[in-house]
């Protein structure tokens, strides 16, 4: 029984949260990796793009809520999501048209793109804060739990509860659908294959008559969808605050690099590696150990390896380890 309790406590505080966080990071990292594979630069505006998409979705959600439209047990934000995606597509295509395309024509060095993306980041950050303000926003509604801790306890008779938030379930289901759709698109459709070809060998893609502007446009559209979905899921699961989204840049980049920049499969793996390490290292294991160890050996402290304030250190440490021992990432990067 104690053993089961330990497992349930571990699942409740580590497995479940890390899975949903990992799915969110994976969606973010997929966007980073797509941009890297096609446009060949690290997009520092990625976190703020997520914030923008989430913001539009939140505004539409509030509007729906004010009109009394809801999605039953599911959060209204899911209904508003398509609007957020469309707005973000518009924003990214506009940005590409007025900013990035110029440098593409010039065949600018990748680092120039990165600096340009800093400028874009500033502007998006400013726009988001200007419109919705820098504070926390709540927009989740619908049912809160799939299984609440109390239900689980009465169901199983264990003293530890396993709570699965609705947002966790939605995150995981959505992520699976999105990833499956993306891989189907990349591997099965003509356009998707042309994107992979462009990423693999740009010159040869041009010789084959693949239109680079079209590939770039489709990339931005997909990235817009990925970032908005990732941003909304993160906001539903935790909360929406523009600065948090900016800070997500680090774990997202770490996930993309750990998996191998430019490799979508790697981005997903990287997202989960980062999320599980972060949650495991910053979780206080006292509760789990209490069930496993005999009473006289029970830990006095929290048995927390690092305080949660250092979660960025975890992404960073993993990043450094990968850079030291396997700079191309777990999966070989550079192509999609």
């Amino acid at each position: 029984m104690d053993f089961l309790n330990a497992i349930v406590a571990f699942a409740n505080f580590v497995l479940v949260p890390a899975t949903s966080y990992g799915a969110q990071l994976a969606l973010g990292a997929l966007g980073v990796t797509l941009i890297y594979g096609i446009l060949r630069f690290s997009n520092f505006a990625h976190g703020d793009t997520m914030a923008f998409g989430a913001m539009v979705t939140i505004l539409v959600t509030w509007w729906f809520q004010s009109m009394g439209i809801n999605f039953g047990v599911l959060p209204t934000a899911l209904l508003a999501l398509p609007f957020g995606i469309i707005a973000t597509i518009g924003l990214l295509l506009f940005t590409d048209r007025v900013v990035y395309r110029f440098y593409r024509r010039q065949k600018a060095a990748p680092v120039i793109y990165v600096i340009v993306s800093l400028g874009v980041m500033f502007i998006m950050n400013g726009v988001v804060r200007f419109i919705i303000g820098p504070n926390d926003q709540k927009f989740a509604d619908g049912v809160r739990f799939i299984i609440s801790a109390r239900d689980f306890k009465t169901m199983t008779g264990l003293s530890e509860g396993l709570a699965i938030k609705a947002s966790t379930g939605i995150t995981i289901v959505t992520a699976i659908i999105v990833v499956a759709a993306l891989f189907w698109f990349l591997n099965r459709t003509r356009t998707g294959k042309s994107m992979r070809a462009f990423s693999d060998n740009e010159d040869l893609a041009l010789l084959s008559g693949i239109n680079p502007e079209r590939v770039v446009m489709i990339t931005w559209i997909i990235v817009a969808a990925l970032t908005t979905i990732a941003g909304v899921l993160y906001g539903l699961d935790k909360s929406f605050k523009p600065f948090t989204y900016f800070q997500l840049l680090l774990p997202i980049f770490a996930a993309a690099i750990v998996g191998g920049l430019g490799n979508p499969l790697g981005a997903i793996a990287g997202g989960f590696v980062i999320a599980f390490s972060e949650v495991t290292v910053t979780y206080a294991f006292k509760k789990v150990l209490k069930y496993l160890l005999p009473e006289n050996l029970e830990p006095t402290g929290l048995v927390q390896l690092l305080s949660t304030d250092y979660k960025f250190a975890v992404s960073f440490a993993i990043l450094i380890i990968v850079l030291l021992f396997r700079p191309t990432g777990l999966f070989k990067g550079k192509t999609i």
Binding site: K193, R196, A197, D200, N201, L204, A205, S208, T335
Partner: protein, 237 residues
């Protein structure tokens, strides 16, 4: 004499704003024939071919295909005009399967490409067995077959090959040349740059020896092989 099917006439130019590499250089090839450009290192062989394909700006001269002037067209537009080009290096999509490479070759086509894929597999049977393998995992000779196959997917009228046998073993080279002859027999015009001058000229209907960006010697493959000057300077006696 009638106008050749493909001609790059009096081409003069270089890369970007750099110095001229080609000086008044002319290469041409008749329909269904094989023309080979040979010459010492740095003679501008590849440059001449790239000029025909529109990958550098010509300051003088013209390129015509089937009598139509295409000097001002981009490489992509030339693909649409029925030209296909196999670069010397990075000529396949390494992360994609053999079959996907062929599909990408036919990207501009909107009709059913299955028959053309079958033709490529008949030409290079080994590719049929490796169709679902990543092209980057194949051997050097097989990669070149993929590269040529990809170029053939547009059903081109002209196939341009930049040193197709670079880095492959002599046996594979003979095999590749056989296939190239086969392609020419089917009516595709072939323009090729080759390092292995002797073997290449042996299969050439027309040969060009370039020297420092100019036409050095021109003639049929057999003529050039028999020409004592050419033998002495380029074929090692």
């Amino acid at each position: 004499m009638a106008e050749p099917f493909l001609i790059g006439e009096n081409m003069t130019g270089g890369y970007g704003t750099g110095a001229d590499i080609l000086h008044d250089c002319t290469v041409s090839v008749d329909k269904g024939q094989i023309a080979v450009i040979v010459g010492p290192n740095g003679a501008g062989k590849s440059t001449a071919m790239k000029a025909v394909f529109g990958m550098l700006n010509l300051r003088k001269g013209a390129v015509r295909i089937n009598g139509e002037d295409i000097t001002g067209l981009s490489p992509q537009d030339r693909v649409a005009k029925g030209m296909a080009f196999v670069p010397q290096t990075s000529n396949i999509f390494t992360s994609m399967t053999v079959e996907e490479n062929l599909e990408m070759g036919a990207f501009l086509r909107r009709d059913d490409i299955q028959a053309t894929i079958e033709q490529v597999y008949e030409l290079f049977p080994i590719l049929r067995d490796k169709r679902s393998q990543a092209a980057g995992e194949l051997s050097g000779g097989q990669r070149q077959q993929v590269a040529v196959g990809r170029a053939l997917m547009t059903q081109p009228q002209v196939l341009m090959l930049d040193e197709p046998t670079a880095g492959v073993s002599p046996i594979v080279m003979d095999e590749l040349f056989d296939r190239i002859i086969e392609v020419a027999r089917s009516g595709v015009t072939i323009l090729m740059v080759e390092q292995n001058a002797r073997q290449a000229l042996a299969i050439a209907d027309k040969g060009y020896v370039l020297v420092q960006g100019r036409n050095g010697f021109t003639g049929t493959g057999q003529d050039l092989l028999a020409n004592p000057d050419v033998r002495k300077s380029f074929l090692g006696g």
